[in-house]
C-alpha cells in the first residue's frame, strides 16, 4: 500500500486532501482528542469546584457554558467528560482490537474444531442486544469505568474476530503461507509474520467502527447511570444530569450532546474514508 511506502506523514496529508470528508473527520477528531488531552491545563476553570456561580446560571463571561445544579461551571466539566468518553472507548477498543485480531487469526489458521468453537462463542456474544449485555455486566461487576470497558470489549469483539478470520482465511491457502509452513515456521511465526500484516488494513477499519460503537455504548451506559460514577463525569452522565433540568437549563444538555455527536461523527467519517481506501467501491453510472 502506498500508505506505508511513501512515509506516513506525506500519505496521510495526501489522503486527507483527496478525500475531503475524511480530512474533515481527521481534523475534527484530532482537535477533539487534543482538547481532551490538554483540557486540564487550559484556563477553563475547575471542573470540580462547587459554587463558581449561582446554580443553573445561563452562559456568561465567567462560566461560558453556564453552571450546573451545584453551581459548577459546565465548560470544564464537558471537556472532562469528553476526555473520559474518549479514554474509556479507545482503551476498550484497542484492547479488543488486539485480542480480536489474535483470536480471528487463530480461528482461521487453526481451523477445525478450534475454528468452530471460536465462531460459536462469537455467535453467543453477538446474540445479546449490546446495551443489555452492557447493563448485565455493570450489574455483575459494579457500575463504573472498568465494567464499561469490559462491556465495550465484549460487544465489539465479534466485529474483529469475524472480519479478521474472513480476511485471513482468504490468505491462509496462498502459496507463501504454505511455503512458510514447509520451511518449518511455527504456529506463532506464521500468524505474526505472514497473516498479521495482511489483515492490518481490515483491522484498522474495524477499529474506527468499534470506536464509534464504543463511544455510543459508553455514553448510553453513563446516561443510564451505569457508566462512570460521580464525581467523575463522562458526556453521557452529564447529559443524564442535565436532562433533569432540560427546560430550565438547556445549556447543560445541548453542548454536551453536540460534542458527543461531533466526536462520533469524526470517527465515522474517518472510518468510511479508510474503508474506501482499502476497498474502493467504484460503482458505475447507469446512463
Amino acid at each position: 500500500m502506498s500508505l506505508i511506502v511513501r512515509g506516513p506523514f506525506a500519505s496521510i496529508l495526501d489522503f486527507a486532501r483527496r478525500d475531503r470528508l475524511s480530512g474533515i473527520g481527521a481534523v475534527l477528531l484530532a482537535s477533539l482528542v487534543l482538547l481532551g488531552l490538554i483540557g486540564p491545563v487550559l484556563p477553563l476553570g475547575d471542573a470540580e469546584e462547587i459554587g463558581v456561580g449561582p446554580r443553573l446560571a445561563a452562559p456568561a463571561a465567567d462560566w461560558l457554558l453556564g453552571t450546573d445544579e451545584l453551581g459548577r461551571s459546565a465548560l470544564p466539566r464537558i471537556v472532562e467528560g469528553l476526555r473520559a468518553t474518549f479514554l474509556l472507548a479507545s482503551m476498550a477498543v484497542i484492547l479488543t482490537g488486539i485480542l480480536g485480531t489474535l483470536v480471528g487469526l487463530t480461528a482461521a489458521y487453526a481451523g477445525g474444531i478450534v475454528d468452530v468453537a471460536i465462531m460459536r462463542l462469537v455467535d453467543v456474544l453477538f446474540a445479546f442486544p449490546p446495551l443489555l449485555l452492557a447493563i448485565l455486566i455493570a450489574a455483575v461487576l459494579e457500575p463504573g469505568g472498568t465494567s464499561a470497558i469490559i462491556a465495550i470489549s465484549l460487544i465489539t469483539l465479534p466485529l474483529f474476530v469475524r472480519v479478521v478470520r474472513a480476511v485471513a482465511l482468504s490468505i491462509v491457502e496462498r502459496s507463501y503461507v504454505i511455503a512458510a509452513e514447509v520451511s518449518g515456521a511455527g504456529f506463532l511465526r506464521v500468524i505474526v509474520f505472514h497473516l498479521l500484516p495482511n489483515v492490518l488494513g481490515a483491522v484498522i477499519v474495524q477499529l474506527t467502527y468499534a470506536l464509534s460503537i464504543g463511544m455510543l455504548v459508553e455514553s448510553e451506559l453513563s446516561f443510564l447511570g451505569l457508566g462512570v460514577q460521580p464525581p467523575d463525569a463522562s458526556l453521557g452522565s452529564l447529559l443524564r444530569l442535565g436532562s433533569v433540568y432540560l427546560t430550565a437549563a438547556p445549556w447543560l444538555v445541548f453542548p454536551a450532546g453536540l460534542l458527543l455527536a461531533a466526536a462520533i461523527l469524526s470517527v465515522n467519517l474517518l472510518g468510511d474514508g479508510l474503508r474506501d481506501l482499502m476497498d474502493p467501491l467504484r460503482g458505475r453510472s447507469l446512463r
Partner: protein
C-alpha cells in the same frame, strides 16, 4: 430438499448459540452481588427464614442442577415468579410485549422506508463527487447522534411545540389507536434515525458494489434504462446485506430499545428487564435476556431463509459467519 438441510443446519447452530447464552446468563446472574435471600427478605432475614428461601428456590442444590432445572422450566415456558412482586415473570413479559413489538416494528419499517430509497439514491449518484460526498455525509451524520441525544432534542422541541404529540401517555394500540400513535410517534422516530442511517449506508455500499459488477455494465451495454436496471438487476443482487443489517437492527430493537422506552415512558419489555437488573430480580433478568437472544437467533434464521430465496447460489452448507 437442499433448503431444508440448510435450515436444519442453521437451526442446529442457533440451538448451540442459545445454549451458550443460557449458560452465560445463568452464570452472570449468580455472580451478581447479593443473593435471593437479600432481595426477598431484605435486612430482616434470620438464619431460619434464609434457609427456607434457599430451599424454596433450590439454592441449596449444586449449581449444575439449578441450571438444568431452570433450563427445563424455561423450555416449558415457565419463567418463574418475580422475586420483588411475586407475580409470574412470563405474564409480565407478555403484558409488556405489545408495546415493545409495536415500537420495533414501526421503527424498522420507518427506517426501511427512508433508508432504502436514500441508499439507492446515494449509491447510483456516487458516480459524481458531489453525490458521493453527500451520501456519505448523510449516512455518517445519522449514525453518529446517540439515541438519547436525539430523544432529548425531541423532548425539548415538543415541550415547546407539542404538535399533538405526547411524551409518555402510552395506551395499547388496539384500545385507542389515536392516543397510542400520539405517544408512540416520538419514540419511533427517535429510534429509527439510527436505523435509517444504518440501512442507507448498507444499501449505498451494496448498490455500489453491485453496479461495479460486469453484469450491470452488460445491462447498460444492452441499452437498458437506468430505472429498469435498478429494478431488475441491482436491487435483488444488493438486497442480502440490506436484509442482514435490517434483521440485526430489528432484533436488537426487540430486546434492547432500553433508552427510548425509558425516555418516552413506553411500558415495554426492555425497561422491565433493566428494572429487574436494578432490583436484582434474578429470575426476571434471566428470562428477559434469554428471550432477547432467542428472538435474535430466530429472526436470523428467518433471514437465512430469505437469503436463500433471494440468491439461488445460497442454500448449500454455505455458512455466513
Amino acid at each position: 430438499m437442499r433448503i431444508f438441510r440448510f435450515i436444519a443446519f442453521r437451526l442446529g447452530i442457533a440451538l448451540v448459540t442459545l445454549f451458550g447464552v443460557s449458560i452465560i446468563v445463568f452464570m452472570a446472574v449468580h455472580f451478581v452481588p447479593g443473593s435471593y435471600e437479600d432481595v426477598i427478605l431484605g435486612p430482616f432475614g434470620t438464619p431460619e427464614t434464609r434457609a427456607i428461601v434457599r430451599a424454596k428456590y433450590g439454592l441449596d442444590r449444586p449449581a449444575v442442577e439449578q441450571y438444568l432445572h431452570w433450563l427445563a422450566a424455561t423450555a416449558r415456558g415457565d419463567f418463574g415468579t418475580s422475586l420483588t412482586t411475586g407475580q409470574p415473570v412470563a405474564a409480565e413479559i407478555i403484558r409488556r410485549a405489545p408495546a415493545t413489538i409495536q415500537l420495533a416494528v414501526m421503527a424498522t419499517l420507518l427506517a426501511i422506508a427512508v433508508g432504502v430509497p436514500m441508499g439507492i439514491a446515494s449509491g447510483v449518484t456516487s458516480t459524481s463527487q458531489f453525490g458521493r460526498t453527500a451520501g456519505r455525509l448523510v449516512g455518517a451524520l445519522g449514525a453518529s447522534v446517540p439515541v438519547f441525544v436525539l430523544g432529548t432534542i425531541f423532548v425539548f422541541m415538543f415541550s415547546i411545540w407539542s404538535l399533538g404529540l405526547t411524551v409518555g401517555g402510552y395506551v395499547p394500540l388496539f384500545e385507542d389507536p389515536l392516543t397510542n400513535m400520539r405517544a408512540m410517534t416520538l419514540p419511533v422516530v427517535t429510534l429509527s434515525v439510527f436505523g435509517m442511517a444504518l440501512i442507507q449506508r448498507t444499501t449505498r455500499d451494496s448498490v455500489l458494489s453491485v453496479t461495479s459488477e460486469t453484469h450491470v455494465t452488460a445491462a447498460v451495454a444492452r441499452g437498458e434504462r437506468p430505472p429498469d436496471i435498478i429494478r431488475s438487476h441491482v436491487l435483488r443482487n444488493a438486497s442480502i446485506p440490506i436484509v442482514t443489517v435490517t434483521t440485526v437492527y430489528f432484533a436488537y430493537l426487540l430486546g434492547g430499545a432500553i433508552i427510548v422506552e425509558q425516555m418516552f415512558s413506553v411500558p415495554g419489555v426492555a425497561v422491565y428487564v433493566v428494572q429487574s437488573v436494578r432490583n436484582r430480580d434474578y429470575l426476571a433478568v434471566q428470562a428477559g435476556v434469554l428471550l432477547a437472544a432467542t428472538v435474535f437467533v430466530t429472526i436470523n434464521i428467518l433471514a437465512d431463509i430469505v437469503y436463500a430465496l433471494i440468491d439461488p447460489r445460497i442454500g448449500g452448507k454455505r455458512s455466513q459467519s
